[in-house]
């Protein structure tokens, strides 16, 4: 797949090819050109049905397509992504899809898609997200699957929210898997540095949204040179149709940031990144303290070696905070690569399937 538009500077490649550094700049230019002009592939294609809607939230059901290899009946698996990114990161493209992989292994799979909030949702805070939106979604998932309990998987901020939810409402959750979910926010790396000096009361309008044009540059600043060097990868991928489609699908997702409600952003930044209340047990939701030690179900905490969005130093303290029933695994990949690169089907999807079949990680 090449760019839809012919490259007017294609001739430059031949001129600079003999010169090492100039050749690299040319590859970056070509990559940027492909990125700017190539048509985007479709995302979120796994067949599903919508079983529940609540305001902008939609719960998608992916029926099992393969046989369940565990003992007894397969419990439903609820997938909870982050609120600031689109949910289709868990169903990016065929072969690179968490929902597709779980359904193929016989798990009735449900994706909680938070949707895109509008200004009318500005007052939705952490309590509303956990105790109204998520709680009702889990209830409806259990009802749809005719099951008393569900397995819960949370990714990134969705993992932190999943842990908080289970700490507050443990009844419906059989087991938990948290991927790249920050718990100790004071170890939150560059993202924490960026928000640490922010006066949230002044910068975030509690009656409005944190717009995409604020969030996107903040994410780009996490790895400024990565925005430059990634074009080399795009150029290399442009020689292979399938590889380019995967690269572009990832770009579609990276570019598709969702605004955050003011009330939620204020609380999350203040309680999490400023005051680091989660591991201290001092974060209260509707007057109830969120005690991670109250999580009594089997819990797997997955960190990634190359994660600069949720560094493993911020993720792994979740294990100590939960206690003896929590285990941890660190994978040799990055924050996004763990679900959408080849590390997904090779490492992470089998790990997730085994965990939800009751098998302990090695």
């Amino acid at each position: 797949m090449k760019g839809a538009v012919p490259d007017p500077f294609a001739f430059v490649g031949a001129l600079v090819a003999p010169y090492e550094g100039l050749d690299e700049v040319e590859r970056i230019r070509r990559g940027a050109f492909v990125l700017a002009t190539a048509p985007r592939p479709p995302v979120g294609q796994t067949p599903h049905e919508i079983i529940h809607t609540h305001d902008k939230l939609v719960v998608r059901y992916y029926a099992p397509t393969g046989d369940y290899e565990g003992d007894g009946d397969a419990l439903p698996v609820a997938l909870i992504p982050s609120l600031i990114n689109r949910a289709y990161v868990l169903d990016l493209e065929p072969g690179r899809s968490v929902v597709e992989a779980l359904a193929a292994k016989g798990h009735p799979t449900y994706l909680v898609d938070w949707g895109v909030p509008g200004p009318e949702d500005a007052a939705e805070d952490v309590a509303y997200v956990l105790l109204d939106l998520l709680h009702r979604s889990i209830e409806r998932i259990c009802r749809h699957a005719r099951s008393k309990q569900a397995h819960v998987f949370g990714y990134c901020q969705g993992g932190t929210l999943a842990a908080m939810y289970v700490a507050l409402r443990p009844e419906r959750v059989a087991s938990l898997c948290l991927l790249a979910a920050p718990a100790k926010f004071s170890e939150g790396g560059r993202f924490r540095d960026l928000v640490l000096h922010l006066d949230v009361d002044e910068a975030i309008d509690g009656d409005g949204l944190v717009p995409v044009d604020v969030l996107k540059p903040a994410f780009r600043l996490l790895d400024p040179m990565g925005n430059w060097t990634k074009n080399k990868g795009v150029d290399a991928a442009s020689k292979d149709h399938k590889r380019l489609a995967s690269t572009l699908a990832r770009e579609v997702w990276l570019d598709d940031t969702v605004p955050m409600t003011g009330a939620f952003a204020k609380e999350f930044v203040k309680m999490g990144y400023h005051e680091d209340r989660l591991t201290k047990g001092t974060w209260e939701v509707r007057g109830q303290p969120v005690l991670l030690s109250a999580i009594a179900c089997r819990t797997l905490v997955v960190a990634c070696d190359g994660d600069f969005i949720s560094p493993k130093e911020a993720v792994l303290p979740m294990v100590d905070a939960i206690g003896a029933n929590a285990k941890s695994v660190t994978l040799p990949t990055g924050h996004i690569g763990v679900v959408v690169s080849s590390a997904g089907p090779k490492l992470f999807y089998p790990l997730l399937d085994r965990w939800f079949r009751g098998i302990q990680p090695e």
Binding site: Y19, E20, H54, H197, E202, A203, G208, L221
Partner: protein
């Protein structure tokens, strides 16, 4: 080594050096409290500017007797609240449905139990009737013998 190779090596070294120094520079910038504070202030200013712009537009719309963004948001909020209420009612209906389902199940079980008990009673009554018949016929045959004697 040809001169072209030398130039190629030189440009390669220059590029790598530039990339490395840019990385170091960015790291320095993003770790500098002055930059981070400045960014925070910039965000605050952006937020304030956006708010005052929206207030200005709202005022103008109000002056023109047109519905403002605030009015539309208020309406959307009402719709959201109605949806929340509707979902709560739906929760209750589903809970009642569950309770009715349980009652129906219990009723069905009770009816089956009752039917089985009825069959058992019928069987018992049949057995009693048969025994009574036997006793009656024994009594009758006894009476007949007495009359003959």
């Amino acid at each position: 080594m040809r001169a072209e190779d030398d130039v190629s090596k030189l440009t390669g070294d220059l590029y790598r050096q530039w990339e490395k120094s840019m990385e170091t520079w960015w790291d320095g910038v993003l770790e500098s409290p002055e930059f981070l504070k400045g960014m925070g202030k910039n965000l605050e200013a952006q937020g304030k500017a956006r708010k005052s712009y929206e207030e200005g537009v709202d005022k103008t719309m109000g002056d023109l007797h047109l519905p403002s963004r605030k009015d539309v948001i208020r309406l959307a909020k009402v719709a959201s609240m109605l949806e929340d209420k509707l979902l709560s009612v739906e929760d209750q209906v589903l809970a009642h449905g569950d309770a009715l389902g349980r009652i129906e199940k219990d009723t069905l079980k009770a009816r089956i139990d009752a039917a089985e008990a009825l069959v058992a009673v019928h069987e018992k009554l049949g057995a009693i009737e048969a025994r009574l018949d036997r006793v009656l016929s024994a009594l009758e045959s006894g009476d007949a013998k007495k009359k003959k004697v």
